[in-house]
Structure formats: C-alpha cells, structure tokens
Symmetry: C3
Subunit: 395 residues, 3 copies
C-alpha cells in the first residue's frame, strides 16, 4: 500500500464535486471522484492501523434509518461515524412505511438540527428507495437554504433499490488491495452471476452495483442469470455504456459456466426475479398479505428450478487457472452450513472465507470516506492535519 | 440576535437557583431563571452556528426514558446531550408500566452511577407523569446524600401530564427571535385554541404549557376550546395568576373565531377531552382493553362534532392584519395531507411551514440549556470558557 | 481507601497475563490478576469522584450482545465503555437463537473491524453461554492472526451459564470497601443461600460466581439450598479446591438456618433447580413451547415447597451479633413489595437497601477495569498518565 503522504497528495490532485452532492449512485460520480473516495478510505484505514485518531467532529449526530434488518451495514455505518467523532442515533419509523411529501420534508428537518450525517437503507421497493433518498436530500437542501439547518448533513446511501454504493466501493477497494492497484484491474474478467438460494426477495442492488461500478475500470464484466432474473434495464444500459467508455466490455450470458470460464473474479449471489420484485412492491403498497404469501411461494418454486446455479469446486475449475478470486457481500448461503442447498459449496467458501472478511473490512472506511468528501472540498488538507497531529486513537 | 459576550454578561447578572432544583414545571421557576435558560440556549445555538464546540463533559451518560413514542423529542434530547459531550443510553421499561416506590428508587440509582442527565417523557396518565418525575428526583437526591451516587444527574421533563416545558420554552425562544426580544411580547395576543383532529388521546401538556408560560410575559393569552375540552383546573388557575402578576391577561373563550380575532399569534392544536383523559388513566391502570376501545370510539365521536374548529385561511383573516404568526409543536394534522380533515388547512400550514421548523429548532438548545443550568450555578463562567477556548466543533 | 498513587504502584507490582486472555471465569485468573482488577476499579472510581477523566480511547466501539433482558448490566456496561471513551453499539440477534460455527466466526469478525470491547450476556442455556463466548474469542484471535482485524477487542463475560464475574468481582470490591481490605475477609463466614421466589428459571451464575470467587480469599464459604437446587458439580469442586488453597473452607449445608448461624455476610437469592435448567435447555433447543410451559409449572410448584427459605428478621438474628451484612445482586424479590412472598422481608431489605446500592455501584468500574487489563499489560502506566494529566471529566 502507498504511504499516507503519497495518498494525500494524490487526493489533492483529484478534481471533485463530491462536497456538493450526495453519493447516491456510483455512476453519478466521475472516475476522479471515485478514486478520491477510495484513497480517502485507504488513508483512514492506514491511520487506524497506526493508531492515529481520525476524529474530525468534536460532537454531532450520525443518524441511521434502516428500513430493512441489517447487522453488517449497521455496524459499518456505526464504525464510520464513530471514527469521525459522531454519535449514532437511530430513526426507527417502522419498516414497511413508504413516507412521502410533507412527512419526509418535515422529518428530514426535525432530525437534522444537530446532524452531520444521515445514512439510509431502503431497498425493499423497486422505484422507491433511491427516490426517497433524493426527497430527503432536497428537504435538507431546502432546510439549509431557509435557515432552518445550520449546515447540510452528508447523506449516505446504505443500499437502495438501484445501487449499493458502499458495498460496491468496498468491493472495489478490496480488488485494488488484492490485485495491487486500480490499473491492475484493466482486462480482468469479473463474473457477476446469479446463484441459487432457498430465500426470497433478495434485492437487486448488489449485482446492479457491481456491474455499474466494475464496468468503469476497463474490466470485462460478465453478467449471468437464468431467464426471468433480469436487473433493472436502465442499470444494464449504464453498465454497457460504462464498459465502452472505460475500454472494457459488458457481456450478459445465460449460463454460470460461461460466466466462470477464465474469470479472474467470480461473484455468485442470489437475487429475486425482477418481475417478482415489481409485483412485491405493488402488494406491499396494497398491504396484501395473502398476495405476498402467494408470491413468495411462487418465487421459491421458480428459484428451485435453478439449483444448478451453484458455485462448486468443479465450477471454480473453469476459472482462470482454477484460481479466480471468489467474492461475496456476506452472508453467503453456504450449502450444508447455512442451508441445505445454497449459493456456494462449503469447501469453496472456506478457501475464500478470510478473503471475504477482508472484502467486508473496507466498508466502514468507505462510508467514512464518503462522509468526509461530502463535508470537505479539501479532504486532503483535513487528512494532512490529522496526520500532522497524529493524536493517538488509543492511549 | 445579541452577541455572545453580551448574552453571557446578562446571564451572569440573573439570579438563579436552577442548579439546585429540577426544571419540572415552568411556573416553578422565577422570571430570571426562565430568562437564564433562554439566553443560555441562544449562546449555545450561536456557538453551533459559529462552529464552536460546546462540550463540557469528557464522558458521562445522558439517559432517556420514553414512555410514549417520540421522534422529535427523542432527537432533540439526543442532540442536546451530544452537544454537551454526553452519550445517550435508553432505558426501555416497557411503555404501559406505572412503577412506584421501591422500583423507582432502585432503578433511579442503578442507572445513575455514571449519569449526568436523565430525560423523562411520561405523559400518558393524568396525575402520574409529573409525580413519577418527582419520585425519581427524590431517589436521586437520596442516592447522593447516602453516598451511592457521585453527583446529582440533571432531571429533564421531556413532557408530562401537566407541562411540556422543553416545548413551551422552545416556543418562547422562537417568539423572542421572531418578534425581536422578550419585551416585544408584552401586550401581544396569543390564541391557544383547540382544533379538530381525527386522532385520540393527545395529551394536554402542550396547551397547558403554553398558557402557563406565555402568561408570564405580559401577553394577552386567550384559551379557546369546545365544551368538555377543559384543561387541568390548577393549571388554568396558574395562568390566571401569572397574567395578573405579569400585567397581561388570561381569557378563556368558547369559540375559535373569538380567539383568533386580532391575535398576533395563533396556536391551533388538538387535545383530548379532560374527562376522557381521566377515564383513560383508570382503564389503563385496570388494563381494560375493551373499555379503552369503547372510550376511543366515544372520544372520536365527540371530536367529530367540532370539525369546524379548523385553522383555515378565512379564520386567519380574523387575526391582526390577517398575518398572525401560526405556531405548532408538530406534527400538525394537515387537512388533505396527513388526514382528510384536520387542525389546519394546507395553504395555511404551507405559508408557515418554515416558521414551525424554526420554532422546533430551538428545542435541542433549550434542553441543553436546562441541563447546564442544573449542573452549574455559574453557567456564565462555563460559557465564557467555551467562548474563550473556541475549540472548533468540526475541523 | 488508599490514595491513587499507592494503588497504582501496587498494580505495577502485580504480575498479570490478563492482557493476553479474556476474563471469562474468575477461577481462571490468578490471585494477583484478581487484585489488579480490583485495584484498577478502585483507581477508576476514585478518579470519577475527583472529576478526573478516564478516557483512554479517542474513538472505538464497545459492542454489547444481550441474549436476555437486562437493565442493570446493560447500564453498567454502557457506563464502563463510556468512561473509557468508547461508544456503545448493540448487536441484536434475537434472543432465543443459539448460533454456532460459521455464523459465530463471521459475525464476530463483521462487528469487530472498529471494536475495542465486546460484552456478552448469555446465561439461558446450561452448557452453551460460556462455550459461545470462547467461540467468539477464538474467532477474534483468528481474525487478528489473519489480518482481518487491526487489533483484538477485549471480550467481557457479562453473565454466562457458569459464572457472573462482573457481579462477583463487584461484590468482592464492595466487601473490600466495607470491611476495609481484602485481608480483612480471611476467616469471615459468607452464607450463599437459596431463597424462595415466585419466579422461574433464574440462572445459577450468581451463586456459582460467589462460591467460586469468595473461596479464593480465605473466607468460610457456606452454600445452602434445598434438595434438587444443586449447582454445576464442577463449580462446586472448584470452590472446594479454592478453599483448601486459600486457607478458608467450603461447606455445603441443607438449611438456611445453619448457613446463617454466625455468618458475617449473607447472600440469600433464588435460583432454578439444576435439573430444570438442564431440561429447559433441551426444550428451548427443540423449540418445545408446550414442554416449556409444563416445566415452568412444575418448577414453580417445586419452589413453592420451600417458602420457608426466607430472609427474615428472625433469620438475621442468627447471624454474627445479629448484624451480618446482607448482599444481593438486585433486584431482590421483597415480600410484600415486589411479590407476595419472596426472598427477603421488607424490613431486612430496607435496612440494607443503601448497602446493596453501593454493592451495585462497583460494577461499571469492575467492567472498565477488566477491559483496561485486557488492553494493556502496563495498566499502571496508563492510569499514571491519566492521573498526571488530570483532565477534568466535567468542565
């Protein structure tokens, strides 16, 4: 890893408007902006490793709003705001509520009088989560403009219906670490493929986030899934466009074998059928419990037809030298461990277990880096101050 | 707004025994004590605006006990203790429990070994909430006296059956800001009036808090409600007495129109019929769910007879120059927005929306000011230190 | 109490490997290690009393995992991590889950990227709680070894199926305070006795913790319970062995009277029949709700045969001079107060109420002392730094 002074210098040379916009979709950020976040995360992680405190706030709240259960993301967010000096405060609105208009405007302001960051996870409804975040963002802008809020809290997308930018950026940071640099990713083949799981309604945001981000760095991105498991068409278009611009490629295929063939990286993960996710939103809005039960049954039956989408040792042999890097956002559905039949064979997962932990370990730093870049135009200056002071994190 | 040095000097000249008593009812505090809290809140708010850290605690817990759901008050309290340097810890006793005697004494001590503030919201039972807070306060006094507790935590009334002092004081701070000083409130007419809402069991503490506090500053306080929607008689007596002493007036009327006529300020808000609140306490104590259902039905039917208590544009035309300041503790029941028929017309609310947000924005600072004045006799000295150090809140 | 400089010097002279192992059972620690924790707690408590900040962390998370409801322990842990400068983050896995293997390994790492302490309470299942903690500890060790975690979080046993070390050590600190030194405990008779309570399923960890720890200091430990209310045989063996080594004695008896006779200290407290706790674990694992109901009924009936195990004034007269110190981990089941018939008569409890509060007040400091000793080999040096800096906790 580069040393901190080099990284800080590189950050100072990257143009960025991140201080002026929320990080809601990776494809709304320029390559330089993405690099700034990655390098900021690297500096923060290095500082922690060297026992240097990264507190930039003496006080302030970091608010979290989880509309879906979460352990990993919750702890990553809590870690991120804590390392910056903020205190967590959870907004518990009830899970199934879709708020709009007046309520959103008002709540966004009421919770933000002393807030410096707001993290939202809202991935249950196609067409709703990201839109909700933008509504919150506008309410915050308006609150600042009208003199209600003393400053604009940073808004962080902790997973929505479209993207999961803290996950995909953490994945990218891990790939950068693993392969020794962003430039090393050019021409690498990454297989984002569907895999069987006995569970229902997993969001599309991880595969969408991966194809939307990895296509920015000249990689050969292959997307594989059975018929009916499409992603949001606009995101697929985005990935195609990104691949062209970055000098990589984007190839949808319909078999796991084809995707794995000669891959440098494989990311086998289950998600719900696209049509099901759409219907589910309607049923949830209508509060139709019987309908939801029916849908779940149908979905699980549909899944069960594709149990052969299984990341086995034999499948791994198809990859480049039989040694592709296995990735997962965790928890994986491991056959014989967390379920009878799942996404991945136990021996494959075990081989890459520590690798997936390291992948996950980037998330707190990525979230903190997003908040810092939203807060400061001159992030390099702030990091430089922290480094010069080198206050100990632990006595 | 005055500058901070002037405010701090004024604070130092106001006599106060707030360091020696809990702030449980505004009418237990002298005018000078109320002013001290207001000015302290102004200094704290100005400091935040100027990026000056207000941490007076290096560590310590700020405990919260909410016996009723709450988003606004919860965030205000969390913001207040955070800006002082405390960490929040929630005591979740279950909502419907009325604890007494041994349990209160013991719990109060057990949670307070490292506590510097305790905020309680207990507004569900007429005759119980404020009494409970005093029981906690006595247990804490006793704990200090007996050498169990190293110091006395500040107890903050975050809403009880009688008063809602953090709300009414925030409202007063907003009026002071809006009209340019406490002295500007003399002779202003404020109409605290009932308004229709399709909801049930709203506490009486907001209207009681408003008439109990605004009557202290020479205002012409008018209280309006339909028959049967009386407030606690002792509080009404308090308001009368206050008005006489402060050179203002207190006038109960039975029509919204009369209250709005030439008013400078209107505060239209629903609350439950007094008799219903009394019966509800009995039924809750008896755990009589069927009885509670019945009561709710009767109450909603009674409410529905008064749908004409509606803050419309036409009603607003009756006020001074048609331009009275509309106030609300939020959330308001807005007709056609949050309910079919409610307290206020959408166009009226929209005109004053930002004003109500600014009103609410005072609450974190009022709560922090209450805690500081409970903790320190020489609050001016503490604020002066913070100002001299001028440590940045955000790097 | 000795002054802080003396205590710190004594700490520096006590050999300890606590920085290299988790504090999961008191009998796994050497006498010198136990003394170090006691003295560290004394220094921390004195510092708080003298308004000296004890923050050794600028940031970091203190994670809590409570598999059973808890107010006292929750607040003690929150207080402990707060006084060290950590922020609390609760891991809410659902209460009845017994996690194993992959899930434990993964979760332990996922929550620990920025964690400095993890407190676990898991006392519901005989044979499971302590084992779970060791599984977490191994996962953390492995995470550090593999480069996933930047440092090893301190693991604190906040009550398991075998021991309740934060309780027993707080009890010991209180005895040391009350009697004026650890050496004063030699030859004192402590009666750990069962007492009747109308509740079901109380864990065995408090009596086990008491006999396992107090037998280390030359005390005459008497354990009394009705037939069928045995403790885990291995722990009883441990107590016997400890008593021999420390020059004290360990005597199991079958009557409360015999235990109270000439006792210096009495600890009357209910716990569940051993066999019931074993069956309960099986039924919980099998998710057999009907079976659990049956078992509860049988257990309460069995308890009811022993209502004479009651700490009355008459019983207290049997103790040394009628003036033994009454202890309890709280909350006690007080006859006529918290239940119709319980562990202790109201007048007895009332006489010792403040004493039990003081007993409880040690717990936050004991927990913080355990974390410090896990974190630093040279705790004396760290405490010395804090004392020299003498930064004010409250401005």
């Amino acid at each position: 890893m580069k040393n901190m002074n080099e990284l800080i210098k590189e950050i100072s040379q990257l143009e960025s408007k991140l201080h002026d916009k929320d990080f809601l979709l990776t494809w709304e950020q320029s390559p330089e902006e993405l690099e700034r976040v990655l390098k900021t995360a690297q500096v923060l992680k290095t500082m922690r490793g060297e026992n240097i405190a990264t507190n930039v706030f003496k006080n302030g709240l970091g608010i979290s709003l989880f509309r879906d259960n979460s352990t990993r993301t919750r702890f990553s967010y809590a870690s991120a705001i804590n390392m910056l000096g903020l205190a967590q405060q959870d907004l518990d609105e009830g899970k199934s509520q879709i708020a709009h208009g007046e309520t959103v405007r008002e709540t966004a302001n009421m919770i933000s009088f002393c807030a410096d960051a707001i993290g939202i996870r809202d991935d249950m409804y196609l067409g709703a989560g990201n839109a909700y975040m933008r509504e919150v963002g506008e309410a915050l802008d308006n609150g600042v403009k009208e003199g209600v809020l003393p400053h604009r809290p940073a808004l962080v997308n902790l997973q929505c219906d479209i993207d999961h930018p803290t996950q995909s950026m953490a994945d990218l940071a891990w790939l950068e670490e693993h392969f020794g640099g962003l430039d090393q990713l050019k021409g690498k083949k990454i297989a984002m493929t569907w895999a069987y799981s006995p569970s229902y309604g997993k969001p599309l945001s991880v595969p969408q986030g991966i194809i939307g981000l990895m296509s920015r760095f000249g990689m050969d991105v292959v997307l594989a899934h059975p018929e009916g498991y499409d992603l949001i068409p606009e995101v697929v278009e985005e990935a195609k466009k990104n691949a062209q611009e970055s000098g990589g490629s984007f190839t949808p295929v319909t078999s796991m074998e084809e995707a794995f063939k000669d891959a440098d990286i494989v990311y086998p993960k289950s998600w719900a059928p696209y049509k099901v996710m759409g219907e589910r939103t309607e049923l949830l809005r209508a509060n139709d419990h019987a309908g939801l039960k029916e849908l779940e049954k149908a979905c699980l039956a549909q899944n069960a037809q594709h149990k052969d989408w299984h990341c086995t040792e034999d499948m791994m042999k198809l990859t480049k030298g039989g040694e592709a890097l296995y990735m997962h956002c965790l928890p994986a559905d491991i056959t014989g461990v967390s379920c009878e039949e799942g996404e991945v064979e136990e021996s494959v997962f075990e081989k890459y277990r520590i690798a997936t932990y390291k992948e996950a370990s980037w998330k707190p730093y990525i979230i903190a880096a997003m908040i810092l870049n939203r807060k400061y135009q001159d992030v390099a200056g702030v990091l430089d101050d922290l480094l010069n002071e080198s206050e100990k994190r632990v006595k």
